[in-house]
């Protein structure tokens, strides 16, 4: 006999809305066991894991934010120091350039002065040499003229005569 024929016979008597105690009490037991399992075993495990994961994610986000803030601070510090270094380098270059200019000016001035001194000394030496030469020329010329004149006149010319004659000759030469 087919069980569904039995079922059909039973269905003819049963109503879908008939309330039976066995399924009802079974449901009470089943629900209590299900609730107990879920509420005291399953749900705490799930919420604990989800909370741990949330904490982990939040912790990592906070750490990432802290690292980012630290990196930003380091970057701004680096940029500040770079700017300071750049300013210091500019100062050093400006000072070095000024020092070089100053030294060049000083060198140029000193060289000019030395050159002027040398020129002055040379001029003085030249004048001195000129005077000496002229004096020697005077002396030699006088001696020579006296000697010549003496020979021409056949007489001894005294030094005073010699001097006088030279001076006269020079005066004439100068006047000419």
């Amino acid at each position: 006999m087919n069980i569904f024929i039995l079922a059909n016979e039973a269905a003819a008597e049963a109503s879908p809305l008939s309330f039976k105690l066995l399924p009802a009490f079974s449901t009470v037991a089943v629900f209590l066991v299900a609730f107990g399992t879920f509420a005291f075993v399953v749900w705490p495990k799930i919420t604990k894991a989800l909370d741990a994961r949330d904490e982990k994610i939040l912790g990592e986000i906070r750490a990432a934010e802290a690292a980012q803030a630290k990196a930003k601070a380091a970057q701004s510090e680096f940029e500040k120091r770079l700017e300071e270094a750049r300013t210091a380098a500019d100062d050093m270059i400006r000072k070095a350039r000024a020092e070089a200019d100053r030294q060049a000016d000083e060198l140029r001035t000193r060289s000019q002065r030395e050159l002027d001194d040398m020129r002055l000394r040379a001029t003085q030496e030249l004048e001195s040499a000129k005077r000496t030469a002229l004096a020697e020329i005077h002396a030699v010329a006088a001696t020579l003229a006296t000697t010549v004149a003496g020979k021409i006149l056949k007489r001894e010319i005294q030094p005073s005569d010699q001097k006088r004659l030279v001076d006269e000759s020079l005066s004439e030469m100068t006047s000419r």
Binding site: F4, A10, A11, K20, P23, F31, I46, R53
Partner: protein
Amino acid sequence: MQFLLASGNNPVSHVLDAPVRIGGMEPYSGLTLQVVTLFVGLIAFVAVLLYASKNISTGKEALGHRRYLSRGRIAQVIEVMCLYLRDDMLTPMMGKKDAHKFAPFLLTLFFLILSLNLIGMVPMQDLQLITGTWIEDAQLAVVGGTATANIAVNAVLAFFVFIVIQAHGFRELGVKGWLEHLCGGHELVAGPKGLWLVVPIIFVVEVLGLIIKPAALCIRLFANMFGGHTLLATLLMFGGMTWAGTNNGLATAGVTLVSGIFAILITFMELFVAFLQAFVFMFLSAVFISLMSHHEEEAEAHELDGATAAAH
């Protein structure tokens, strides 16, 4: 042809509860198929959720960062369901405190009803019928049917919801507040005397509502599961009816093919309904529970109204 006649000549018979039957023994009327299915559903519920919770929980430290991830598809699906229901459905409706407080109860309802609905979709009765056909006089029928298509099962689940709603109401509102709630709320009771005329009407409506709300939960679930399975059984009957009426194999095959295709489509819809009805039962339970809560926004609004009135 035997299995095409699985629904017999009465589609309701396929959905109604029937006694357990083993071999040639007389049916034991004390134990029914749906009751056995109820316990099978419980075993599935416990097994799947224990497995899922184990795989959702934080793993060993050796796994590194991966220990915080859920392991396995089932665990991931259960986790997504739990998170969605708690954070995106219950919390906006009930507030964080109540949502976290009632989540175990409401999610138990959801997962238990879902597991019973899904177990009910497995054609265990028909498989046993085929087995019984192959094995002479086996006539095995120990499990089958949909437990949530049994009004008693749904009534008990709805009764638990009723208990929780009222317990929450007493706790939140106190006895006086609960009685005031039945009479339309404090504003109506303490309001102008002319409004007292409507208090008895509201009282009757609210008292009826106490019963109607869980009864609606019970009947909605029962009607959907019973109706869906009856429709499936009816579709599967058409082949047998054609054979009985015509004795024509070709006509029977044609009708069976068309009705079979429809049965497959309806089965997919039933799969959706299994999830939907579990969700609706839990969702409405949450709504009914939250209706008995103090609403901070309302309290703030009342304080604001009071302050405005005092200023005037």
